[in-house]
Symmetry: C2
Subunit: 159 residues, 2 copies
């Protein structure tokens, strides 16, 4: 190749690669509605499994059932849910209109702290579930639910 | 207490306890629509996280991201999803009309086997994610996706 053409060719190739990457990203990036659906689904699953733990500590305790439920809560809490609150998802409809308040997308540090508390208490619940101490699981469920409420109080629109 | 009255009193108490328990169960038992919402939510989260693993193995691999996603898939797969297909949920609307075919509620042994395969391959994916061998994770993702397809082929209505 002519030496003077090389830099141009390289630039053309680089632009082509960038364009291809941008196209691939555009194709792969889920739409805001999809992200909202996923986050609504995530909290629904947390609700299902939190309810299961509550039914166990208030009724007949099945250790295996509690372990399964607590593991699901912890894995979801630690899955990186923040990605489902990406820019562009401040408003919109997933399964239903988002209940996230506008402030959630502005108070980064505070929201991060609350999300961290949720993950921490969910992880602790999963650990305690392995032990099977009903009173300890019940107390920890309370701690977990308070982290849910702390975030809902400030950042979730009332039904 | 009069000896002759004792059995009657015990029976009355037992009936009372049964009635209270039945009331509590009726209050706590989620409605079919709620169960369908939860199962639809569960598979949505599996889709979100499967897509994340796929994006990682096809693009830039982030080990931590894959671990989080694979843990979520495994915990959901092992959470006891069968409970969300309880009697009474054969038809109905959760977020949308159920896509579960009637056969799913009849072929117990076959469905159980397919669900077991899903759990097994999801658990294996979570294990391999810890290692971070991209080729191994990619191959295992393929195995997992085949277990999804195997069930969808027979038991999920086409869109």
């Amino acid at each position: 190749m002519n030496k003077r053409l090389k830099p141009i060719a390289a630039t053309v190739l680089a632009i082509g690669a960038l364009a291809a990457a941008a196209t691939a990203m555009a194709q792969q990036a889920p739409k805001p509605e999809q992200l909202i659906k996923w986050r609504q689904s995530a909290y629904q699953l947390v609700a299902w499994n939190t309810g299961r733990v509550k039914a166990n500590v208030d009724g007949t305790y099945n250790k295996d059932d509690v372990i399964k439920a607590a593991n699901a809560i912890a894995a979801i809490a630690n899955s990186g849910l923040g990605a489902l609150f990406a820019a562009g998802t401040e408003t919109g409809k997933g399964w239903h209109d988002t209940a996230a308040k506008p402030e959630l997308f502005k108070d980064g540090a505070k929201v991060g702290e609350l999300a961290g508390n949720f993950s921490k208490e969910a992880t602790e619940l999963a650990k305690l579930a392995q032990g099977g101490d009903v009173a300890a699981v019940k107390a920890q469920l309370g701690k977990l639910q308070r982290t849910c409420k702390a975030c809902h109080d400030d950042y979730k629109a009332k039904d």
